[in-house]
Amino acid sequence: MNGAKNDASVDAYTQLKTDFAAITAKSFQARLNEFVENKTPIIACTDDFFPELFTAMELPFYFSVRQGLEGAFHTGKGPEAVDGYSELGGSSSLCSLQKAAAYLLVKGKLPKPAAIVMTSTSCDAQTAVNELMSNYKPWAAVPRVSVDASFEKDEASMAYLGRQWMDCIPFIEKATGRKFDLDRLKEVCEESNKQCGLMFDFQELRRAVPSPVRADWGFIAYMTGRWAACGRPEATEWLQRLYDVTAQRVKDGLGIEGVKEKIRYAWFDILPCWSDKLFPRLEQAFGAVNLMDLYGYNAPWPVIDTSSLESIFTSFAKRFLIGNPMTRQIFSLSSVYGNDAVHIARNFKCDAMIMPSHVGHKDGAASHRVVKDMFRQIGVPFLVLGCDVFDERYMSPDVVFDKISTFFETAGLTGR
């Protein structure tokens, strides 16, 4: 994936990929079928609010949208799930990922949980799927809890959300028979703090010119630290290796193999499921390197204060609402979204900013004017696409490529 032909880091990145696959294979998500078979209790969440808690309790969990991603789009069944949902008569404007999650749910393809934990974030589509999950008849007897998330981000608001999540512990213990251990949670949180610190440090290396790695390493780092092995030492070790090998590349002044970097841009949304049909073409045609995506961007993460149970859960609220990618940008003011994009453009030395404006992100669609004007002020060319990052049928990768090509040309970025 990265590194010049004579560069030792090529092997290191290959090894990192292999190890990422191994870590992922051991994750709760990858082993759901096994848990269903051996009747291990599973928690269904509507998002990844506090993966640290589940690691500490060794309690398998999944969240609905990730099921849509991994259960449908990553297995090539995304379009089928999207169309299937439409036939069921749901909201036609729903995010395609949420449609896929909803389809898997109503078709009985999500593991039956021992309990459901919902929170009123991050977007309308999520709330809609929460409601579907909550009213799915075969799960009528499954205990559930709905938590109210504050939109405000001050200390009192974070404590409000944290307290409600904290109150879920006895509920989860009762529903699953698992015992909660505060000391173990503290250990996991300390490890998680190290991981988030490494994710941020790795990101900062990517300010280098030329860029040492492609944007997708940011998402892989996120998946390792947050999704696959949150709070587990193997993820910390993996992230440390990623940092070390990348730091060496920066020191050596190495860019992406086979690419003469001419245009630096950021794709400020989720990396598309059809990335391979777009980014390599942009690299080859224009020397255009994608530096950052939404999930590869660390804000940075609020540190978990492990001094008490209450402080841990208040920190979880901060992490989720202020740190967690996408939640941070969409469940907040347009200025947060815009300031993050501007921060990336300025500090990562972007020649252009691309707002894919995924069709499911209605809040984003209502923020373009605010963000566009911020970019006008800093003089960085800005493009809004309006594609579907999951379902390529909405706007084909060819069309996206053409739009970006024209944008690069009209912005005077080509031929440099």
Binding site: L94, M118, D124, T127, L132, D148, F151, R369
Partner: protein, 391 residues
Amino acid sequence: MGSNIKSAVLEKLMKAAAGLANSSLQDFKDKGGKVIGYFCPFIPEELFIAGGFLPFRMRGTGSQNTNLADAYFDTLNCCFVRHTFNQLLAGKYSFLDGLVIGTGCDHLRRIFDNAKHAAHETDFIYLLDHPRTMGTPEMNGEPMITYYRSQLAGLKEKMENHFNVEITAPRLKNAIKLCNETRRLQKRLYELRKADNPPINGMETAAIMMAGASMPKEEYNENLKTLLGELEKAPASGRKYSARLMVVGVAIEDPCFYSVIEENGGVVVTDDLCFGARTVQSVVDEKTADPLRAIAKYQVLDVPFCPKINGAHVRRVSFIKEMTAQFKVDGVIAQGYVACDPWGTSFALLKESLKEAGIPFLRVDRDYLPSQSGQLSTRVQAFIETIGGRI
């Protein structure tokens, strides 16, 4: 197809609903009064009234296009939001002195960001964080009430500082009484529609309800009392309807929507709308020592919710079933905007729930402007005929 009485008051209220700046609002302004626009019934009018303001529920009435708003909102965004924001940009809300937006949905919330960015006529623009989860007394009710109370207190303080007014507890209590009186009067209006031949139709009721959020409350209450007196004495019309209908979904500001239904032989007798039946089901505690808390409790626990509120489907179905029984409803028409994910999803669930209860259900996805009224008419006609076959 309207009511069978000639009423100057009814005419006045309908006129207030047909436009934005009505004569009562203008009189209030001429006397030095200030007007605060607000979105969503989660934002309590009591707070504004206690500060001496006239609360005006924001709507896109009169909008013909979204040319101005399109620079801020995408076509993926809710058409109600785009049309209302367009009216704001077009200067149709020049009578506003402030604007309060709730954090209810992804589209509406962005009016705050864009209004701030556009810096339109009003310089008091506030985003109120309100609950998005259904409260239950036994689980999360108390923390939600406490949290929402703190958010209301924040808004109160901002208004006091910005407008140099004092919103005291006694004033809040008086405002609660005033708004409760409105709720009780409006409930009486709804009760009249339980009659076999309702003295007032859906279009008129919707306009009366809308007027209630567009003019000074004292004046409105007096008008409504007069109108109720007239309606309660009115002779039965003897008109026959093919179907008694309930409408659910997004707020309906377009009288054409009701006309289409009522010209096809139906009569809308009740609803599950945010500025309709949902607002008249209960009242705020008037005897409380802490009026802000009483308002917060009312909003968190006591009102039926729209689907923006997480976990409220079961309560919504129960409310709709209760309404259909009380108002002898023959069928439910669910209408929503294409971009509304919460309602769109809710309709799929509602369809199943009402099917099990044997209640006929029609779903209509519509635009803000009545451009599809021909198509709507055909569908409503077919629906009413189907129901007619059942009666």
